[in-house]
C-alpha cells in the first residue's frame, strides 16, 4: 500500500499547524515521524486518517485521493491506532477487536465464523487470547494498546497509521508493541516520541519542526548529534550500537 502526502497544509483557526508537507511511504516500509511536542506530527496523521480535512494539498492512497473515497473504502485500506483509547462503556476485549471487522460489513451482513476466526487470530498474534472475555476498561495501558493493535489487525488493511502508540508505556511494553507491529510485515506510518525507538524500528524518518518537515532520510542520516541539537536543542552523542547495528542516542545534561 503506497501512501503519498502532497503539499499538505492544515490550520486550527488562523495559524498553520502544518505547512506544505510532502511525505511518502512505499509498500512495506516502516516510516517514522519525529519532532518536538506540538510540531504537527499528530496533525499530519489526522489529515491522513480523515479526522481532519486538509486545508490545502492532498493525501493519496495508491495514487487515489482519499477525499474521493468513502470512509468505508479508506477503512478497508488503512487501520489507525490513535491516541484516543478511552472507552467509557463496558466492552469485552473480544468485542473491541471485533469492531475492526466493521468496514468489511454491509448493512445486512451478520457476523460469521470467518470473522470470529480473524478476531481470534488477531488476539493470538498480540498474545491476548486468554483475555478475550475481560472488560476492556479494566486493562492496563499496555494491554489496551495491544487490544487496539489487535483490532487494527482484524481490520486486515495493508497500511497501519500509528499516533505515538507507545506513549505513557514502560520500556518493556514499548518494545513489545513495536516488535508485534514489526512482525506484521505491513506498511507503517507512525509518529514516535522516543528517538531510540525510532532508530531501532524505522526504515526512514521524517523530522518535523514548527509544522514543517525539516529533514528526512534513514535513521543514520537523520539522527546525528548536530541535527538533534538543531531540532530539540539538546546535546547528545549518536553512535552505532555494536550489538544492534542501529543508531543509539545518549543525551548529555547541560
Amino acid at each position: 500500500m503506497k501512501l503519498q502526502i502532497e503539499a499538505l497544509s492544515y490550520a486550527y483557526g488562523g495559524k498553520n499547524a502544518v505547512e506544505n508537507v510532502n511525505l511518502h511511504v512505499e509498500q512495506g516500509e516502516f516510516v517514522g515521524v519525529i519532532g518536538p511536542n506540538g510540531s504537527g506530527k499528530s496533525t499530519i496523521l489526522k489529515n491522513v486518517y480523515r479526522a481532519l480535512t486538509p486545508k490545502q494539498g492532498k493525501v493519496l492512497l495508491e495514487a487515489q485521493p482519499i477525499s474521493t473515497m468513502s470512509h468505508r473504502e479508506t477503512a478497508l485500506k488503512m487501520a489507525v491506532v490513535g491516541q484516543e483509547n478511552d472507552v467509557p462503556f463496558d466492552f469485552t476485549v473480544e468485542e473491541i477487536v471485533a469492531m475492526g471487522r466493521s468496514p468489511h460489513k454491509r448493512l445486512f451482513d451478520p457476523d460469521t465464523d470467518h470473522d470470529r476466526q480473524i478476531v481470534r487470530h488477531a488476539l493470538e498474534h498480540m498474545g491476548m487470547e486468554t483475555m478475550a472475555k475481560r472488560n476492556y476498561r479494566h486493562l492496563s495501558g499496555g494491554e489496551r494498546q495491544r487490544v487496539l493493535i489487535a483490532r487494527a489487525i482484524a481490520q486486515e488493511s495493508d497500511l497501519l497509521i500509528l499516533d505515538e502508540p507507545t506513549n505513557h508505556l514502560d520500556v518493556g511494553c514499548q518494545m513489545q508493541i513495536f516488535d508485534f507491529i514489526k512482525r506484521l510485515k505491513v506498511t507503517v506510518l507512525s509518529a514516535i516520541h522516543d528517538l531510540n525507538m525510532a532508530a531501532l524500528y524505522c526504515d526512514r524518518l521524517y523530522v518535523m519542526k514548527q509544522g514543517q518537515i525539516c529533514m528526512s532520510g534513514t535513521p543514520e542520516e537523520v539522527l546525528t548529534a548536530s541535527n538533534i541539537f538543531d531540532v530539540y536543542g539538546v546535546r547528545c552523542t549518536a553512535e552505532k550500537h555494536p550489538q544492534t547495528g542501529k543508531i543509539h542516542i545518549t543525551y548529555l545534561p547541560a
Partner: protein, 350 residues
C-alpha cells in the same frame, strides 16, 4: 480483575419475553377493579380469530370491557412508551458518548413538552391534523437535542460537565416557556388537560393512541439494529469511528433524527416520563455488556416491563386516586442518577 459474568443472549431474550407476557397478564388485572390473570388470559385468547370460539365465556361483560377497552390499551401503551424511552436513552448515550444521557436529563422532554403545550393550548400546529401533538413534540425534541449537542461540543468532543449543565439550562428555558404558555392559556379545560398530561401519565390510554408510537418504535428500532455496528463504533470516539469506516457526521444526524422522532411520538401520548432512558440501559449493560446488537432489544423489553409495573404502582398506591407515572419514575430515577454520577467521577479519578 475477574472476568465479568455476562449472560447468553438467547436465554436473556426468552426470559424477558416471558416476563413481558406475564407482566401484561398481571398488569391488566391489577387496578381499582381486579381481574384474575387466568380470566385475563381467557378474555385475550377469546379475541384471537378462529381460536376464540373454543373458549367458553365465563366472565362478566364488565370484566371484558375493563380488560379490552381500559387496561389492555394502557398496558400496551406502557410497553411501547417504556421501550421507546429506553431505546431513546441508549441512542442518546451513543450520540454523546456518555452513560448519563437520557431524554429527560438533557432537556429533550422539556423541549417536546413546551412545543406540545403550545400546540395543545393555542392550536399552533393544528394545520398538521390529528398528529399535530406528536409532530409538535417531535419538533420540540429535535430543537432541544440539536441545541444541547451544539453547546456541549468543545473542540469536536462532548464535554461531560457542559453536556449535563446545558441539559439543565435548556430544560429550564423550555420549562419556563411552558410556564408562560400555560399562564396565557385561553381556556381552563385545555389547561387542566395539559397539566395532567405534562406530569407524565398513561391514564386515558385508548387503542387509537397506540398506532403512531408503535410504528415509530418499530421503524426506529429496525434502523438502529441495522446500524448497531456504527453505534458501537461511536462509543470509541469520533476519530476512531471515522477511521473504522463510519461516516460520523451522517450517522450522528440520523441518530438525532431517530431520538427526536421517538421522544416526540412517545411524549405526545404519555407526557414526560423521566429517567427510564437512564436506568434501563444501565441495567441492560450490566446484564449483556455494551454491544448494541444486544443492548437495543434487551433494553427495549426491560424498559417496557419497567414502565408497565411503575404504571401499576401509579394506579394502585393511592387508589382510587392516580399518581402520574412521571412522578414515580422521578422519585426512583433521581437518586439513581446521583449514584451513577458519583460512580462515574470516581472511575475517572482512579
Amino acid at each position: 480483575m475477574k472476568e465479568k459474568k455476562q449472560f447468553g443472549m438467547r436465554p436473556v431474550m426468552l426470559l424477558l419475553l416471558a416476563a413481558a407476557l406475564v407482566s401484561v397478564l398481571l398488569a391488566v388485572g391489577l387496578g381499582p377493579v381486579s381481574v384474575s390473570p387466568v380470566t385475563t388470559a381467557k378474555i385475550l385468547l377469546s379475541r384471537i380469530p378462529g381460536f376464540g370460539n373454543l373458549i367458553r365465556p365465563v366472565w362478566q361483560p364488565m370484566e371484558e370491557n375493563i380488560v379490552i377497552l381500559l387496561r389492555l390499551p394502557r398496558v400496551c401503551l406502557g410497553l411501547v412508551v417504556g421501550a421507546s424511552l429506553a431505546v431513546c436513552g441508549v441512542t442518546m448515550q451513543a450520540l454523546v458518548r456518555n452513560t448519563l444521557a437520557d431524554p429527560f436529563i438533557l432537556g429533550v422532554s422539556s423541549g417536546a413538552t413546551a412545543f406540545a403545550t403550545l400546540g395543545m393550548l393555542f392550536g399552533a400546529f393544528s394545520f398538521l391534523g390529528i398528529y399535530s401533538l406528536s409532530i409538535s413534540a417531535f419538533l420540540g425534541a429535535a430543537v432541544t437535542i440539536v441545541f444541547v449537542y451544539l453547546i456541549s461540543r468543545v473542540g469536536g468532543r462532548i464535554h461531560m460537565a457542559r453536556l449535563l449543565l446545558s441539559g439543565v439550562a435548556v430544560s429550564m428555558i423550555m420549562d419556563g416557556i411552558t410556564g408562560i404558555i400555560k399562564l396565557s392559556a385561553p381556556n381552563a379545560l385545555g389547561l387542566h388537560n395539559a397539566e395532567f398530561w405534562m406530569s407524565g401519565s398513561l391514564a386515558g390510554a385508548k387503542w387509537a393512541y397506540l398506532g403512531l408510537p408503535a410504528l415509530v418504535l418499530a421503524v426506529c428500532m429496525a434502523f438502529l439494529m441495522l446500524h448497531h455496528r456504527g453505534l458501537n463504533l461511536l462509543l470509541l470516539g469520533e476519530e476512531s469511528a471515522g477511521a473504522l469506516g463510519v461516516n460520523v457526521r451522517r450517522l450522528q444526524k440520523w441518530l438525532i433524527l431517530t431520538t427526536s422522532v421517538m421522544a416526540g411520538a412517545t411524549i405526545a401520548v404519555s407526557g414526560s416520563i423521566g429517567f427510564v432512558g437512564l436506568m434501563v440501559p444501565h441495567f441492560t449493560r450490566l446484564l449483556v455488556g455494551g454491544d448494541h446488537k444486544k443492548v437495543l432489544p434487551v433494553s427495549a423489553l426491560l424498559g417496557g416491563i419497567l414502565v408497565v409495573w411503575v404504571d401499576v404502582a401509579a394506579r394502585t398506591v393511592i387508589a382510587p386516586e392516580e399518581l402520574p407515572v412521571g412522578i414515580l419514575t422521578a422519585v426512583i430515577g433521581g437518586p439513581f442518577f446521583i449514584a451513577m454520577l458519583i460512580k462515574n467521577t470516581r472511575e475517572k479519578r482512579s
